[in-house]
Subunit: 223 residues, 4 copies
């Protein structure tokens, strides 16, 4: 997957229910095509295949369970994600934490299935632990800044810089994203200057009055 | 929703990943149209909208969280289900149990959103408690019989009969489904004779060599 | 168990760690002996046997799991509670909710072991459902009032009155407690006037500067 | 804490309910005094303070939650453990897994409170991740061998040897325990030869006909 990347988490905002989720996905795709910057999306889980089969930019699941195909009503498997034309999954998002043995197992199986793993973490120490599993991406998001108005790149640039440094020392192929409070191109530019290979954001795009304009601004920070 | 109903839970079997889930949904629809018997489906959650927008028989979510639209990465809301052209949701399946205050809240909100609520229960006593919430359906499934080869209607006909009787006394508008080990038309016939208004089944259809044939047989029991 | 009862939940406040938990238990015992009013306590779980073997007033566990003796590191069984000289357990406290099939199983097994079951609920509808299981007590606590300064008996007297009325109609032997914001004898008096057989409270006693004085005042409301 | 150590997890076996838990704790203490080998225990959580105040060998909690003192009915805090005369806690036992950000936070706070942290892991990869948090001990237990009759030291000696080697490379001060199927002095001897500083076991002692004899045999392997 090319970087830098702007990964847009649709969460379960009412702005993305029904046809609106697909429409936002299309806006992301258009801006990606126009700007040449890699934009990926994580729609609500019940839209996963609906959107993934219609969209050419990378689509991620918001969550996955450490389960094999079989019994598991309401659960999500990596095999199911793979079969849905999605390219990977968020793992351990702050709103959906996972036990460590499951993270290890999911990341390992993602590699086998050629899926991209994006493991969310809350600080440098947890990021270092996760680096041991060699996921494709680690997305560090200080919980106290999530959903706030100040970007992590302004509020706590050191967490980004040091996460990158520490992870490089452990597992150089793991790429770092940062998240929390990301709103504009300037935040993306700083994230990249600090060593991140992209950003993970949600409300900044999903709840924007003009998502297309916001996405173009974000992309401008990645050029 | 017309009854009797045959509700097919696709679970997360590998037989229903990708295009195969849609194909099975279409088989269910064809048999429903051919036989005139109401067949409904609960596809894996990541296929929900993908299948619901293409299929005219009733589609249910396999699970829902007691959450409002907003933050909740990887979660499922009733509002999201509604916007996906699904008609309702399973709640408290034995593979995905829910705390009681969430069941109450979800059933209540389902009514407000005009969604069908199917609450799964494990015995008569829990069924009676759930009846207090007036869901559309209660689906009683003795856990020891789930996934087995003997139908609940043979192994424990009294649980079906008495669940129906007790629930009628508490809340006559609540309809009872039964599940666990349902495999053929004979099982459906007995379920209806025992007072149930349908069945909830999974592997019997999903893992069948010829799902169409099995579904026709099941439907024959409901005629 | 004689009623009215004042049931003091020690929660995990630092005011009750180590020897302080036992000291508060002794204060509760003294006030109970002095006033003749039934006062019971639920110490932090790691103090359960330590306090239960030294105290003659009824001691409850704050939580229990639906597990048999065996494997279950860190879990709590009814058999373990019974063997600890405790008389019963809180179940489904708002800070530790339990799935409905576990509540049913725990209440049933409590009866077999001659333990007192106190199931916490959040509203009238859930209280009615729980009444189907015939626990010893249902303790209704509106979540929005928990930890607040206004007693449920002032803020929402109807929830107490109607919970009592509805539960009487379903299962007359089930006794109702009420909780949330209970602070003084006046609140206890109103609770009893509304039909409750006692109160469940925590910070009002545990965090009081003079717990003995508060307990005497509470007891005065129950005379 | 001196090593080698034999850490006995009482789990929630009915062999350790009530006075029997204290009696087994006393047997452990006697064998420790007689043999000079460090034996520690993790009683069921509701016995924690009851046993810890009467016993001079190290007592561990079986579980802890990542919570501050305050609201949290039925939960266990590090502060509560500390105040109970216990010396530390098991974390992330296979029967009670914990999300990774909680493990990190609990290990960190354990250090601040001068408590011993024993983090359980299921394989080498997870052990390496946990080593990043610098707990006092990592106890590696292959899940497929837990509760079995073959000792991990026979069934999979490499997991012990390599866990030790990998953890030494990451964080040399972290000590390794191994568990699963440990039954006798020979198993302990092999564990130590493989580089472990002790063993974590449960049924081998707790369900033994003559725990004293088994403990003496285990201790002989550590001499």
């Amino acid at each position: 997957m090319n970087t830098p990347i702007i990964l847009v988490n649709f969460k379960i905002y009412d702005e993305i229910y029904g046809i609106k989720g697909l429409e936002l996905a299309r806006v992301c795709q258009k801006v990606s095509e126009k700007t040449g910057i890699n934009i990926a999306i994580a729609p609500q889980v019940i839209d996963l295949r609906y959107i993934a089969e219609k969209i050419s930019i990378p689509v991620f699941s918001q969550h996955v369970h450490n389960m094999k195909p079989g019994n598991g009503t309401g659960k999500i498997t990596l095999e199911g994600i793979k079969a849905s034309n999605a390219v990977g999954t968020l793992i351990n998002h702050s709103e959906n934490r996972v036990i460590i043995s499951d993270i290890e197992s999911i990341v390992k199986k993602s590699k086998e299935l050629d899926l991209i793993s994006v493991v969310c973490t809350n600080n440098i120490s947890v990021s270092k632990a996760i680096a041991m599993f060699n996921p494709t991406f680690i997305a560090v998001e200080p919980p106290e800044l999530i959903g706030g108005n100040v970007s992590v790149t302004d509020a706590d640039p050191d967490i980004v810089k040091n996460t990158v440094k520490e992870i490089q020392a452990i597992s150089p192929e793991v790429k770092v994203l940062c998240g929390a409070g990301i709103k504009n191109g300037n935040d993306v530019r700083k994230a990249i200057e600090l060593g991140a290979e992209g950003v993970l954001l949600a409300s900044g795009v999903t709840k924007a009055k003009n998502p297309s304009q916001v996405l173009e601004d974000l992309a401008s920070g990645a050029m």
